[in-house]
Amino acid sequence: METVEQIRDRLLARFPAAAVAVVTNPGAAAEHALLLDATHAREIAEFLRDDPVLRLDYCSNVTGIDWPEKEITDTVKTTVADPAGGPAKVVETKTVRVEPGYFEAVYFLYSMAKKHGPVIVRLRTANRTDAVTLPSLTPVWRSCDFQEREIFDLFGIVFTGHPDLRRLLLWDEFVDHPMRKDYVEPDDYEWEPTAHGDVLARAQAHQAAVAAAAAAAPSAAMPVVNPTPSAS
């Protein structure tokens, strides 16, 4: 099978307007991926499926990744010649930049016809807050259907063009997307005998807060810390 670089070069030749990049994976498996831009992802996916050399007719797995905003420190080493004639000094300048966060959908493509794969395709959202839309590849590979729904459910990526985008594992009324790294579990634990000290500590803090809220406003139906009426 062609390498990812070869596929990228072919894609760039075929779709000159598209931005296709190779994301290298430094791990032992070295599963390098193709990063597609969202606007051309549908066309490129159809091309990957129908291209006679690749024939990637099967999408085995789709998964989501949350990449939160992170600080990256770049270190630049410069050699400064000593004006007094001594040995040159190496000066390190550090710059800190903030890489904005984004969500990623990762597709693993195989070819049943050609018996090769995987080719890994990644799509990235613009950010983690309001621009979380990606094109759905379910119209290209039917097997993406449930998996894109799962990603929508747990990460909150909205797939446009998906035929039936609903929550899959959680119920429709559920608020939030629990696989996001900044997800905070609702603080509604009841006290239960548990071996996990931090859970118990948290439950006790919750009980104290509920009791305080009840003492402060006995008529209030529900304390703020407890959105559901489970702990009493």
Partner: protein
């Protein structure tokens, strides 16, 4: 007449029994469980029905695909909060007399997923459980043992008097409210008529 005398008569081919005993014997040996599994424990339940463990020896082999024809609900597996209302609805659709076995750590307490946001911490919050079978998963033998325990319980049920069984009393309703889906949890998160949390430690 003592039990020994009755045994003596039985050995001579004369069977003396009470209607209650006969009725309970018939019921306890023809339990029909609802064909319904939720997670890995259901695989053990299925194994209990295979030739090796043969739940048919206890008259419980007819797993009914309809709650209307079943009188035992084996809650075998993880009850997620998404599934819990449907479990309660199935229970409500079963006619009396009906019994509930909580099979495995998940059905009893949430098991390994106890502190998860999506798993119910025990089906006894919504259903009256008769038999708890611990284990993750319990082996088929454990399920059979639970079944025998349930049979003993059925055989001990009274048909008349103040301790009469639930199903012969008109004043007990064993239908339970079905919880709604809330923003994070089920609303209400438990049936307070059936279950209340243990008191927090005071120290």
């Amino acid at each position: 007449m003592t039990d020994a005398e009755r045994e003596e008569l039985r050995r001579h081919g004369i069977l003396l029994t009470s209607l209650e005993e006969l009725y309970n014997w018939g019921r306890s040996n023809s339990i029909w469980p609802i064909q319904f599994g939720l997670a890995c424990c259901a695989i053990e339940m299925i194994a209990a029905a295979t030739a090796r463990f043969d739940i048919a020896r206890f008259g419980a082999e007819i797993f009914r695909p309809s709650p209307r024809q079943a009188d035992l609900m084996i809650v075998s597996g993880t009850v997620t909060k998404k599934m819990a209302p449907l479990v309660v609805r199935l229970w409500n659709q079963m006619p009396e007399p009906k019994y509930c076995i909580a099979m495995g750590a998940c059905a009893i307490s949430g098991g390994p997923f106890k502190q998860g946001y999506s798993v119910l911490k025990g089906i006894d919050r919504f259903l009256p459980v008769d038999i708890y079978i611990p284990g993750c998963p319990p082996r088929p033998e454990a399920l059979l043992n639970g079944l025998i325990k349930l049979q003993e319980k059925i055989k001990g049920e009274k048909l008349t008097g103040p301790n009469a069984a639930r199903h012969v009393r008109a004043d007990v309703n064993n239908e339970h409210p079905i919880p709604e889906y809330g923003a994070h949890d089920l609303v209400p998160s438990k049936n307070t008529a059936l279950w209340s949390p243990p008191a927090p430690p005071t120290a």
